[in-house]
Symmetry: C2
Subunit: 334 residues, 2 copies
């Protein structure tokens, strides 16, 4: 894996600004947790697992921004970080976990507190690497030599702390000697497919063809897709999966064309506290992402937009969930 | 109708350069048929009926570019014009029709030949106005007060010589006093929905909300769409309809959500010479339309793309065809 987009660097968080890809490779070293929150909000770091890791590191970074580590300070910091984006469950989960690690620590001891936060954040990162590897191993068993795989958005190394979820399955299958080809939906409005998935797969030497989201149906009708694999930002306990807007559309189309539809995500993405996808909060993004998406105004001033950042794919459209604990059959017949 | 984008101006063709919308209103007066071909190729004028009208005028314009109107010259010109774009049947149909008008004319008489070409082109234009009006009348009967209508691409005044096909239905229903709201798919890669439909509907005072193509599924799942109306570039004799890429996707989604799906197009768009949509040639567009949308590179250099300009919606997904001759039931159950 050549991609190294997110890691601890001393007492800072080093990240690749994904909003600048594929044109520019800009690495930032952040020593202010508020800058990390901004990076999360601006999607400089994105993907549910990567957001969780960045958020965990942000708490550790924040612990260096004051001399007196009052519990109130950390609680306030944790709360600010958790509010950065609403849909991914990993964000709150990771922040809560580094905070819980302090239960064993004497919070009057500033150095031990900082150490504990960094250790827990690094543990979360390492576990994410392991989860990606496990998802890759389980998922690769579903993939046959010679397949063409359609994916939506970016659920790759750039979205996680490891080899990725959906793309991790593809890397693992490739490493087993399978010859694969990927079709990447460009993924409007922010073009994560065009900017990130295409770039990432090229870095990793996998053949990729880019298409507009609206072209996936025809590609399927022409028999050019053997399976679909996507990631997830949050999975409800019944298996309904929230992922990048457009995923639900691809799932309906996959069933129409009898193409298996897989969701690859670690169990930490599953929110067992909610029964179904209807309870997943969906972030609305600003109008400019649609009306000025290419740096140039492409719709009249003042145009009203509809712009949910995610949609929910019901379990009845999912062939199987690929998790770090194994493959779970979904609700789709056939 | 405030929009006046395409008409004869003396011995020239005056057209609104639609590639510059919505930012700039640039009208061109073209006195060289090769420039009209370029305008068609570059989508400065687009939409199957408008392309046909522009092509008919192009033959008349060409007749002023030589002093000696040899039949060979006009046949060569006609052939060049017909090759501008492959999918819309109106283009070849309109060119053939102005050429056939010469059968009654003494081709040694240059002035009479020119007059006949202009007259026939203007007749085609006027008939298109009438066809749009008839489509509007027939289609409006299907539309109920208070409905929200989803459309894809631009099948409006800007795509025709009249009030439009899909949007013509909406204008007519509105003029009958029905309160309507339109959702416009942005329509990648060239954003005709964002640039043209949004602009056109705002000019005509109809409430419009813009969304990315990938968001239509969620909009439908939320119960926010009462019907879909789109245009067509060519309809096969069995009712399969070729239209802007992404239309087939919307048709699958409309059936999934039990939303009526209507195709509005004049009978001149029907190609009775072909049995089914499989025989409709589909134009492939260049990679740059996807990888460098609007001036900024959004995918790595050399990225391979899949970019059909059209797709075919099979009759089984069409609730009804709205034509100038009336509404014809489609093949969709329910």
């Amino acid at each position: 894996m050549k991609i190294d987009h997110l890691r601890r660097a001393g007492n800072k968080l080093r990240l690749l600004d994904q909003t600048r890809l594929p044109g520019e490779l800009i690495y930032k070293e952040l020593d202010d947790y508020r800058d990390i929150i901004e990076s999360i909000k601006r999607l400089e770091v994105r993907g549910a697992p990567a957001i969780g890791i960045a958020a965990a590191y942000a708490v550790a970074v924040a612990a260096h921004q004051t001399d007196r580590l009052e519990p109130e300070y950390l609680v306030e910091v944790a709360s600010e970080i958790k509010a950065a984006r609403p849909t991914a469950v990993n964000l709150a989960w990771a922040v809560d976990r580094v905070m819980h690690s302090l239960r064993e620590v004497d919070v009057m001891d500033v150095e031990k507190t900082r150490l504990s936060l960094w250790n827990e954040a690094e543990a979360i990162h390492e576990e994410d690497r392991q989860m990606c590897a496990a998802i890759g191993r389980h998922g690769a068993e579903l993939i046959q030599d010679g397949w063409s795989i359609l994916t939506h958005c970016n659920a790759g190394a750039l979205a996680t702390g490891g080899i990725g979820t959906a793309l991790g399955v593809i890397y693992t299958a490739r490493d087993q000697g399978k010859n694969l080809r990927v079709f990447a939906d460009e993924t409007r409005p922010l073009l994560q497919g065009a900017r990130l998935t295409t770039w990432e797969l090229q870095q990793e030497g996998i053949e990729v063809t880019l298409l507009c989201d609206s072209m996936a149906a025809m590609l399927m009708a022409q028999g050019k897709v053997d399976c679909v694999i996507v990631g997830a930002d949050r999975v409800a306990s019944n298996g309904d999966a929230a992922n990048k807007i457009g995923t639900y559309s691809v799932a309906v189309l996959a069933r129409e064309h009898n193409i298996p539809f897989y969701v690859a995500a670690p169990m930490s993405t599953w929110d067992m506290a909610i029964e179904s996808g209807e309870q997943i909060p969906i972030e609305e993004r600003g109008a400019d992402e649609i009306t000025s998406g290419f740096g140039k105004r492409t719709a009249p001033e003042g145009t009203k937009v509809y712009s949910p950042a995610f949609d929910v794919t019901p379990i009845r459209l999912i062939t199987a969930h690929i998790t770090d604990e194994g493959v779970k059959a979904g609700g789709r017949a056939g």
